[in-house]
Amino acid sequence: MTQLGFFFDMTACGGCKTCQIACSDKNDLKPGMLFRKVNGFEGGKFPKPWIYYLSTTCNHCERPKCVEGCPTQAMHKLENGIVAHDKDKCIGCRYCVWSCPYGVPQFNEETGRVGKCDMCRDLIEEGENPACVDSCTMRAIEWGDVEELKAKYGEDSVKDLPVLPDSSKTKPSVFIKAKAEASNREFILKED
């Protein structure tokens, strides 16, 4: 079984949020729902203040707690490792919202079901890139097989940061090339 995943280059990201907007557009999301989000974290003091941005979405985890806990099997893992969501099975119990340590699944009051990133599987099947990947002007997001991403970026990337939950819980398929500041345990989540 293959496992697809994302790579995010924090050192290239300037926090423009184009990926977030492209994602919301592609998935036709109403305000209040996001499948990808850019968060800014700041800290330090003049003359050495710092800020870094982290663009996150579903990590299509190797051991997805959302899938394990979903009572309907609406959350399920595909052959290629993508964690997909079957809206016909979903009963809107929101248990996945409590299960995912990354706060990824989003409940939609209108449809009474949840939704989340499916890595633009329709685009991938047509040989294209996910919307976030193509939209980033800094080329900060990549996607691909985790083994290939690991070979390419494994050395200087991480899965754990002080702002993220412990990766041993779900084994996220994500590689983050972090700035040095991102290892700081003292930080403030930047308000939008």
């Binding site: 209040g32 729902m33 996001l34 499948f35 990808r36 989000k37 968060n39 996150t56 979405t57 707690k65 899938v67 394990e68 806990g69 979903c70 009572p71 309907t72 099997q73 609406a74 099975k89 979903c90 009963i91 809107g92 119990c93 929101r94 248990y95 919202v97 409590w98 299960s99 995912c100 340590p101 990354y102 706060g103 990824v104 989003q106 409940f107 939609n108 009051e109 449809t111 009474g112 079901r113 949840v114 702002v163 993220l164 939950p165 819980k169 989540l189």
Partner: protein, 280 residues
């Protein structure tokens, strides 16, 4: 609060399970009693709980889909067990109503209902403690659920079966309730220490609970006070006529203890924080 339906579900089901357990014990302890009021209350509470849980769903009509992942989901297992428990509680009530003889059958249904119910509480504990919500993780959730079932169950059983148990000693109920709430309080205190030294989401929950310190103080005052009143009541035998009104005292205990446990369950849901840095 968004989780009101879950509050009603968990509290009603746990209370019904507790009643069922004490009712079944009563079938073995006392000869030829059926505990009709307690039986109907257990059945009614379990129906109320299951209906409330449907109200939580975005797609209530597809609720049966929740049985599709028994293999790995504690939520699926809990839905199944709660449904079976409700069925057994209703069956017991029907047996009481329509089958005057059949004491053996009632005992069997009572035992089955109690066992399914007690396993169901384990599933409820698992379902909350395996989420990514730190305040729900750990022993406290299980102890809280079982203590609620035992304390509320014993107390309601006693209050509802007061006429039938008039001649019997009531001290075991007083002691069972007091013991369970003391354990509940002890485990809760140690859990709140763990929370304040946990990660970001745990800290956020600890912060919410700190903001509710007064409410939590009243919760324990009511729970422990209710249990103490009950113990005093259950130990003072043969004093009818001397004490004000035994049923009045019992009702006071019921109101205090249930009020306290409901406040506790409310804080359980409002203190939940999944993760501080999510997508919304």
């Amino acid at each position: 609060m968004g989780e009101m339906s879950l509050l009603i579900f968990s509290f009603a089901l746990q209370s019904a399970i507790g009643i069922m357990v004490f009712l079944t014990l009563g079938l073995f302890l006392y000869e030829n009693k059926v505990f009709k009021k307690a039986a109907f209350t257990a059945a009614g509470l379990s129906i109320l709980g299951v209906l409330a849980s449907l109200a939580h769903l975005g797609q209530p009509l597809a609720a049966l889909n929740a049985l599709l992942n028994i293999g790995s989901s504690w939520l699926s297992r809990e839905v199944l067990l709660s449904g079976v428990f409700m069925g057994l509680a209703v069956l017991y009530a029907l047996l009481v109503q329509f089958k005057a003889e059949g004491h053996g059958l009632r005992k069997a249904v009572g035992c089955a209902g109690s066992i399914v119910g007690l396993v169901d509480i384990l599933a409820m504990g698992k379902l909350y403690s395996t989420t990514s919500v730190p305040v729900w993780q750990g022993l406290n959730t299980y102890v809280d659920f079982y203590a609620t079932a035992i304390a509320v169950g014993a107390l309601l059983f006693l209050a509802l079966s007061y006429q039938e148990l008039k001649e019997e000693s009531k001290s075991i109920y007083g002691l069972a309730v007091l013991a369970s709430v003391i354990i509940q309080a002890a485990v809760a205190i140690s859990a709140s220490f763990d929370l304040s030294i946990g990660g970001m989401a745990a800290q956020a929950s600890a912060e919410i609970l700190r903001g509710m310190a007064v409410v939590i103080f009243f919760k324990w005052l009511l729970i422990l006070g209710g249990a103490a009143i009950l113990l005093w009541f259950s130990l003072s035998k043969g004093q009818e006529g001397k004490t004000a009104s035994p049923l009045g005292i019992l009702s006071l205990s019921v109101l205090a203890l249930i009020g306290g446990q409901l406040i506790g369950r409310y804080t359980f849901y409002v203190s939940m924080v999944v993760t501080s840095v999510g997508l919304t």
